[in-house]
Symmetry: C2
Subunit: 256 residues, 2 copies
């Protein structure tokens, strides 16, 4: 089982879109795939249509005010073969405050995923645009971090700040994190986008994926319809870019 | 002194852009204006070029591990007349965990702003895409909440979730929060954008501003250049929309 965390402290860069797109392509290619919504705003849960009210959520893994629920009871099948979801809930907003500096709460997700190892080939963690206890859990549990980055100037400056903050948190992991920066919302017609992509490659070299995700209005249409990218053939440009990205990622080494 | 909080749990909807645009227009019209960056990712501080390393930040108001710094020492002039900034810093990431459930930490900003009341006509709070202790402070300290909302389907569903979560937090204020929903990144050419705007107005009525902020690539150019909207004449469409929004907001009642 490979675990991928998809994160960026900058908002609206395509984290949820990337998680659902890659997950749906993995499931389409025959892999048993689990999407976990780590964002209290529950965008992924809303996109896929698996709301936490009926099912329980990532919150219940932490056992605040009671016993933690077994992770298998929180995982739900979707209408797409081999694609399951563990939803988020608004209650996750309060996790940082409730946990405070209590030790050991950074490994809650790692232990839960160890139980699921026989059931899934891939697990993708859609992270919130913050670096709190949910992000600490995601980093500890994952093999590789994907950082969707919008190809525009402020986002580049933000990326540097984010990677600095991340290395503060990664120290708690003990081993360095494998990272891939994924350029998103790329518009080849604008000079600003092209200049940003060139700067990303210059500054971060091989850490930047070859595949670049273009702006494709059909991606927005697919999310409005609640249909993952693999099942939305009209998103030709976006679909092709995410398939290339997936091929590239699967060829990369898995962490030791 | 009027205090405005600009927030949405959804990322990338134009919170920072709206804060800087409105602030720069207020300063241009002769009002003494303070922008406060409440986001640990420090987008606004990066945009305006006031980094916390040299100056201290919102973090220092909370006095974690020492005495809080006087707010006046944290406020810095910018190169634009009557426009000042109180920057953010990455240390703010840890505030929720460090504060935990300690009482009284929701009014830190309210007390700090009381000291600044003689110095400013407007204070704008650029909030992070989360609802933690920084957001609790922003709500307690502000007269009106502006919620930039992208005119696309997932963002509408997210708005409902966000407003539900907000009312959980607002209870700690004791009095209801005046809110204005500001449609952003609007593209009149697409059916999806037009349909979303119509649904926003149907669902939220007068809580939605008349002014609608269109997608304007010059807005992105202005932020890449680190120049606030009022000083970037090329952003004609965006500039006009934000001036209309400002006129509309200044005509609204201030909370009791
Ligand atoms: N390649 C793309 N082309 C066009 N639209 C896109 C693309 N990727 C994402 N979007 C749109 O951009 C918006 C933001 O995307 P998304 O919600 O995936 O970002 P996010 O980083 O998960 O945001 P948040 O910070 O709120 O979690 C959505 O409306 C989505 O449909
Ligand atoms: N009206 C607009 N037209 C074109 N681009 C815009 C507009 N408003 C915002 N943008 C661009 O969209 C991106 C996101 O905007 P911004 O950073 O202001 O959003 P945010 O809500 O503050 O994001 P975060 O959730 O990370 O705080 C930026 O690249 C910005 O330049
Ligand atoms: Mg998301
Ligand atoms: Mg912002």
């Amino acid at each position: 089982m490979r675990v991928w965390a998809i994160s960026n402290q900058k908002g609206g860069v395509g984290k949820t879109t990337t998680t659902v797109a890659l997950g749906s392509l993995m499931a389409e290619s025959g892999k048993r795939t689990l999407l976990i919504d780590m964002d209290p705003h529950a965008s992924l849960s809303g996109y896929i249509g698996v709301e936490s009210a009926a099912h329980g959520s990532v919150y219940d893994l932490f056992g605040i005010g009671g016993n933690p629920l077994p992770v298998r009871t929180l995982v739900h099948a979707t209408q797409w073969d081999r694609l399951s979801v563990l939803p988020a809930s608004a209650a996750m907003i309060t996790l940082d405050r409730q946990i405070g500096t209590r030790p050991g709460m950074g490994l809650v997700l790692t232990h839960a995923l160890a139980e699921l190892a026989p059931d899934f080939d891939h697990v993708l963690l859609d992270c919130p645009p913050t670096l709190g206890v949910l992000m600490v859990n995601a980093l500890a549990a994952s093999d590789r971090l994907l950082v969707p980055t919008q190809t525009e100037a402020l986002a580049l400056a933000g990326l540097e700040r984010m990677l600095r903050s991340l290395s503060m948190i990664e120290r708690s992991r003990g081993k360095p994190m494998l990272r891939t920066i994924v350029p998103t919302l790329y518009d080849a017609r604008t000079h600003a986008s092209r200049a940003c992509l060139a700067q990303l490659r210059e500054q971060y070299g091989d850490a930047v994926s070859e595949a670049v995700i273009p702006t494709d209005t059909q991606i927005r249409e697919a999310s409005a319809a609640g249909v993952p990218l693999a099942s939305w053939p009209a998103a030709r440009r976006g679909g092709l870019a995410y398939r290339r990205l997936l091929d590239e990622l699967l060829a990369l080494p898995v962490s030791s």
